[in-house]
């Protein structure tokens, strides 16, 4: 069975070796899903339909980023979530929900604690644009973090959407 990434993910996956891409795919399908379900079971709070769609839209526009954009992209997810928590009209439960999501998707804690981030030194590309290997390694780790955050949020949103009635 050959690994063939979805067309919208090709951009991201072409930077990874097939085994790395397979591993990410496997983690998103198993551990991340379980983690998202655990999160949803513990937290019964539902955002409004429009806010959920906004979050979903944000994640969808981020799909297909390149490895070197990972840090930037995870930053924009967190920035959006942080921005929401600072709104004056926000309800306490909503704030708590966003803060929990930030805690999990933030690269310093959360996901990094759940997953062992492998060493990437042996899978570096040819140095064609003058970047140092250290920077390259960081890029890849950032991409992993971004990927985990995105897939985790995708699972959480799908589960939450199940409970939100759409307007007819």
């Amino acid at each position: 069975m050959q690994f063939q990434p979805n067309s919208d993910q090709e951009e991201s996956f072409k930077f990874l070796k097939p085994d790395e891409a397979k591993r990410l795919n496997l983690l998103a399908d198993t551990d991340l899903y379980e983690m998202a379900m655990k999160f949803c079971n513990e937290d019964e709070f539902h955002l409004t339909k429009s806010k959920m769609n906004k979050l979903k839209g944000l994640i969808h526009t981020l799909t297909g980023v390149q490895v070197c954009d990972g840090r930037e992209r995870i930053g924009s997810i967190i920035k959006y979530l942080r921005h929401q928590t600072h709104k004056s009209t926000i309800r306490e439960e909503e704030k708590a929900f966003y803060e929990k999501l930030i805690r999990i998707t933030n690269s310093d804690e959360g996901l990094r604690q759940f997953f062992h981030i492998p060493e990437f030194s042996n899978c570096m590309h040819q140095d064609t644009d003058g970047r140092t290997e250290k920077k390259r390694k960081k890029d890849k780790q950032d991409f992993y973090m971004y990927y985990f955050s995105r897939e985790f949020l995708n699972h959480v949103i799908a589960e939450k959407m199940k409970g939100i009635p759409y307007a007819k």
Partner: protein
């Protein structure tokens, strides 16, 4: 024999069992009752296309969850969507584990075990959609004779 061949063989043994077929038939019939007059044909065909093209079981499950969220699309009726998710994720996981332990001697890696689950889902959804289309047949005959 290669691992892939053995996996496919074990899957076909499991999916030809009567319980598997009956469950697909049951959910296909329920779908036909819910989606009357070909109402859900596009949705179920999309589901079939998705499960055949995606590389993850959870992509399919997330699609069903979103359809449940739409409320007026039928998946929420009679708990159909939730039962489908439950079967695809939990029941097929049990079958997947039994196949994996049956093929223990092949020392399958995690990726191959995940593929077993995906292939089971493909087989199940395909059977279910066929049953749905079969059940819809009479309805379509009635519509086509009208014109």
């Amino acid at each position: 024999m290669k691992n892939n061949m053995r996996i496919h063989k074990a899957i076909s043994v499991q999916t030809s069992k009567e319980e598997f077929y009956n469950k697909a038939e049951e959910l296909g019939t329920r779908a036909a009752k819910i989606f009357k007059e070909g109402k859900g044909k596009t949705q179920l065909n999309s589901l079939l296309n998705l499960v055949n093209s995606s590389l993850r079981v959870t992509d399919t499950i997330n699609y069903i969850k979103r359809q449940i969220g739409h409320r007026n699309r039928g998946f929420e009726e009679d708990n159909f969507g939730n039962d489908l998710i439950d079967f695809l994720y939990n029941d097929l996981k049990i079958i997947k584990n039994s196949i994996a332990s049956e093929l223990k001697h092949l020392e399958l890696n995690d990726y191959e075990v995940q593929q077993i689950h995906l292939l089971l889902c493909r087989q199940f959804i395909s059977s279910m959609v066929i049953h749905y289309n079969y059940q819809q047949r009479e309805g379509f005959d009635a519509i086509s004779t009208k014109f």
